[in-house]
Each structure stands twice: as C-alpha cells, then as structure tokens.
Symmetry: C2
Subunit: 333 residues, 2 copies
DNA sequence: ATGAAAGCGCTAACAT
DNA sequence: ATGTTAGCGCTTTCAT
C-alpha cells in the first residue's frame, strides 16, 4: 500500500506539500503540484482514512442502531439514512439490537470506541441511562421513532397518538364500536402512545374504553397471530381490530386465514405500517403509513446538524406525518 | 476523552504497562495491574479503536455492498451478515449500490480507504474490472448471490438454475405447457442462470422453448406489473408464470388484481423469493425460498476465513440449497 | 512558497 | 517484571 510518505519521496517534496496538494489546503506552485499529482497517479495512492481520522478526529461515520433491519419500517429507515449519509459524505455502521437494551448498550460503546461522529438510535423499551453520558457531553445523538422519557435528545418520530386516533376514528365512522387493539408488549412508550390515540378516539366518540379489548403480544408475526386468535375465538369477538405493529398485522391476517375468519366481513382490520406488499395481501391492508425513508434521511440530517454546528438551545423534536392508506381490510370500500 | 497516556500517569506506570494489562499480552504484577485497572475504572477509559486499528492494521470492520437493503432478499442477507459479524467481533458498514456499477466502485474505494478487513459484495450486472486489484492482491473478498464471469473470487450463492428448473418442473407436472417467464433486465448472470433452469426444464419435458413467453422488465414491483400485464393481455395468454425476482412477483400479483385476472385459476404463479408476507398475499405465494440469512452469515464466515488464514488454493464456491414452498398461487392445492 | 517536525492514541520491539 | 521509544499514516503549526 502506498503511503503519503512514498508519494512525497517520489515527487521530491515534503509530506506536508503532498498533503496540501491533496486537500487543497494551501497554495502549492503548479510545478510541484503536478509532480505530486503525477506520483499519485503512478502509484495509485489512496489516503488512509484511518490515519486521517485519528489526526482530524472525524471519521465521517455514523452509527445506526435499530431493533431489526428485517422489520420493514427499519429497513426503510436504514435505506433512507444510508442515502442521505452517503450524500453528505458519511458511512453507516448498521447494528441490530433485537430490542435488547444490553445489546444496545454494547453497540453504543463499540461505536463510540470506533469514534463515530454521530449516533442514530431507535431505542428499545427499557432503561437507557447509558445514553446519559452522550446527552451531557453533547455527543451528536438522534433518537428515532421513540422519545425517551428520562432525558431530552434530538428526536425524529411520527405522531403515533394522532395516527391511531385517526385510524380508530375511521373505524368508528364506519359503525364499529367493538374495536380491539393489538398492542406489543407493555413498557414501550411507542405502544403507550399508540394506545392513547386509540383510547382517546373511543372516548371522544362516546364509546367505552374496554381493557378486555386490548391484547398484548410479541411484536412479531407469531405474536400477532396468537393475540388475534385469542381475540377472535371469544364468544363475542370484536368487529374491528387496530394493530399497532406491522408484523402483528401480518400475524392477524395469518390467524384469520387459519381460523377461517373473513376479513373485513367478520372483522375489519387497520394496521400500523405500510410496505411494498400491503396492497397485495388478502385482503389488501388499510395501513397507517409512516414516512420511513424520510425519517431515516431526517435522522441523518439532524445528526449532521448536531455535528457541524453547536446544538443551540433545546434539542429538536421533529414530528413526521402519518397517512392512513385505505384499502379493503377496513371494510369501507 | 481519557487516553491511555492519562491512565498510565494516573497509575504511575508506563503506557506500555497499561497496554499490556488491557490486552493481557504480557505478565504484569498484581500490584500494578490493579492500579491500572483502578485508574481505568475511575476515568472510565475506553481504548480508541482508531488508534489501535492504525497501529495493528486491523479494523474489525467489514464492508457489505448490496443493491438495495429494501429488497427483501438483501434485507435478510444484511441481517444474517450482521449477526455473524457481531458474533465474530466485526462491525458492518452497509452500502446500497442501486445496481449501479459506478456507485459500487465508489463504495469499494471508500471502504478500502477506511481499511476494512474484508468485503462482501453482491455485484450488479456490469463490468467489474475494478475488483481485479482485490483479487490479485488477495484482499479478503466474498461475492454474494452472483458469481462474476471474468475472474474467480470466493462466492456464496444458490443454485439458481436448479431452483428454477425444479419450479418449472413443478408447473409442468401440473399440466402447464404455456409457461411464461418474468425475467429482470438482460445482462445479469443471475437472470441468465435462472432462465437456463427454466429452459432446461421445458426441454427435458419435451416442451417448446418459446422466446415470446420470456419477458424482461425492471426488477421492481412496477417492472413486474408491467411485464405481467403485457403477458396477460395477449390473445392467448400463458397459463402459468414463473417470476425470477421477488419484487416482480409482487408486481404480477398487483397486475392480476388490476386486470381482474384470477390466480391461480387463470394463471398459476411461482416466484423466486420467500418473505414474511408470502403466506398472506392473495393468493398465498408458491415461492422459491433462498436461505438469505444463512447466505449472509455464510458470506461473513467465508470472509473471516480469508482474513484469518491464507487463502489456500482455488477460491471457494459455496452453493446453498433453495426450497420450493408450495402454496396456493401455483394452483396445485 | 515550502519544509521540518510534532503529535493524534495506541502497540510492541528493544532495552534493562 | 517494567519502562523507553519508535512508529502506524496522516495533518498542521511553526519556521524559513
């Protein structure tokens, strides 16, 4: 591997001059400049980013921690983030936490050790005191999708409460009153917010908030299937379900199929999460679409902002709009 | 940020001793050892990976270049890779090439500049001479999903030809003879292999290989929809379609829906690619399942092997098995 | 207009 | 059993 030293020797100048030429960081006479450039050409010299980063204390690398890239929402977040990052000259190190705060902390440490310039994290439910040093030191950190109760950090998320409020209202407006909610495991602020929207909508429309209609489950296809089965095998099953998690929605569909339950005839279904396949499921899904790519890109934008300019004032909270995409599963068309 | 130097001063030893303690790389008396450890505790010292990497010429970082993480296959590859990598002590820098060889080359250079220890790449169709230096220098490189005609590099992929052969045969065994193929844009070895399997199956079963039944399209939902529409609006449409790309399969489903074409009654459909939603589409998809996570993990395994031991002999070609998962869309159940 | 040299934070060969 | 010191490859201050 060619080093800057070798380029310098070969072109008969100092390492300083080579560096200055390469970075255009001070005047160098045309003669020397072309000598240097020639040597670079001949040797195929490429600067070692590591050395440069060590010296400049800038790695142009961001850490991105999500629970699981396979989760369609995070897949898009990752893509949106990578695009924007690449555009701004950053690389992204991807980490999957599996909703495990321990893994999350492990990755945060690893990434910081690697001297990343900024961190984007979709925090799992749980204790996040290990982020406190980041906050107090002003390390460029952006929270995605979930705000953290304890301390304030720059955050980009959707208005979960509003989204489920609207979706629930949609169901109500089509005559439903026994509306069940598929919630992920308790303890997550995300779920709490979504649940809140659901409850408010019921209340605002004079409907009873019934806790027996709220079921918790793992935020997976299996979890959703299980919860849906429990719901639909009751003596008086709900006439509509709102699912707070994409994977659980898929699980509901699977459960319906296995139980021979007709959707939307027997149960209407509205679910969080829009994906490429949402329109080709049976039935096509009425979905709460989150601007996932834009969220990923926005997160990178925010973190870049924190990196390049002193975080003046309170940490920003950027709320992105959701959209209810109406298809067959809610039964209104 | 605390440095090793500070830890050394604080515990009254040399930097060497601190390093030796931290890395357990030579004997240090219990007394000094505990002094060092105490200082580490007090200061919350964490080694700077950058400095360590510069010195040791090992970054414990791998580059992963795929066309698009949003592609369900690559999503899983990425996850499988990240899991295995983390298990082996590596991080992964994720890059999306969008099937653009230019971007691909750009990322390769960027990653090499960052001194990654190994590269995993799913090459796009096109000229890959820029990988030649990697090959000739023996840089740990693993190709995923597509072998490269020109030169030989360690590769992990599925037996595409075999997979489409089997799937086509399945269709034939259920009485189909007008079997169309949804191919992605020409020029890709992947597509070529899949096409080959399809043709062989036809031939082996005494069926005519008809080029008018092979349609090319963008490997996207839209591309698949368009191609399918063209196919199904003919005067004598095929009775079965085999799709060589997951996204195109989804597109076919969408096209059927829009055209009011009944699947599998009017056309049977078999497609490459299994995903979480394959069983809940309308109709559920008969799919050629690739072990995507295992492929990702395998790629990391292979690259790790190349890193830790001298690549003896010919580069390995690891072929992973596909599985035909039979559901309703092929019409046989 | 250019060069010498210090130093980023660490490891490891070479002392002792 | 421990310390000194020379780098890893680069940037940038300080001289000239």
């Amino acid at each position: 591997m060619t080093t800057l030293r070798e380029v310098a020797d070969r072109s008969g100048v100092s390492t300083a001059t080579v560096s200055y030429v390469l970075n255009n960081t001070r005047y160098v006479s045309p003669v020397l400049r072309s000598k240097v450039l020639a040597a670079v050409q001949e040797t195929g010299y490429r600067p070692n980013s590591l050395a440069r980063s060590l010296r400049c204390k800038r790695t142009h690398t961001l850490g991105l921690i999500v629970s699981d890239v396979v989760n369609p929402f995070f897949t898009e977040v990752a893509r949106g983030a990578e695009d924007k990052a690449s555009q701004l000259g950053f690389s992204i190190v991807l980490c999957n936490s599996d909703e495990d705060v321990g893994k999350e902390q492990h990755y945060v440490e690893l990434l910081l050790d690697k001297q990343i310039d900024g961190l984007i994290i979709a925090p799992s439910p749980g204790e996040h005191s290990f982020l406190e040093p980041l906050r107090s030191s002003g390390f460029p950190t952006v929270l995605v999708n979930r705000s953290l109760p304890g301390f304030s950090l720059t955050t980009i998320m959707v208005d979960n409460e509003r989204a489920t409020y609207d979706a629930t209202e949609h169901l109500i407006s089509h005559g439903h009153s026994d509306i069940a909610a598929l919630l992920s495991l308790p303890g997550s602020r995300l779920t709490a917010e979504r649940q809140l929207g659901y409850e408010s909508a019921l209340r605002d429309h004079g409907l009873e908030v019934r806790f027996d209609l709220m079921v918790n489950g793992l935020s997976t296809v299996e979890g959703g299937a299980e919860a849906s089965k429990a719901l639909m095998s009751r003596s008086n099953p709900p006439t509509a379900i709102i699912s707070m998690s994409t994977l659980m929605t898929l699980g509901a569909l699977r459960a319906f199929k296995e139980m021979g339950v007709k959707c939307p005839e027997q149960v209407a279904l509205v679910g969080f999460g829009e994906a490429i396949w949402s329109s080709v499921t049976d039935p096509p899904l009425t979905a709460i679409a989150q601007p996932a790519k834009a969220i990923g890109a926005g997160a990178v934008d925010l973190v870049e902002g924190l990196i390049s300019s002193p975080p003046s004032g309170r940490p920003e909270l950027r709320v992105m709009p959701c959209e209810l995409i109406i298809r067959r599963s809610c039964g209104c068309q």
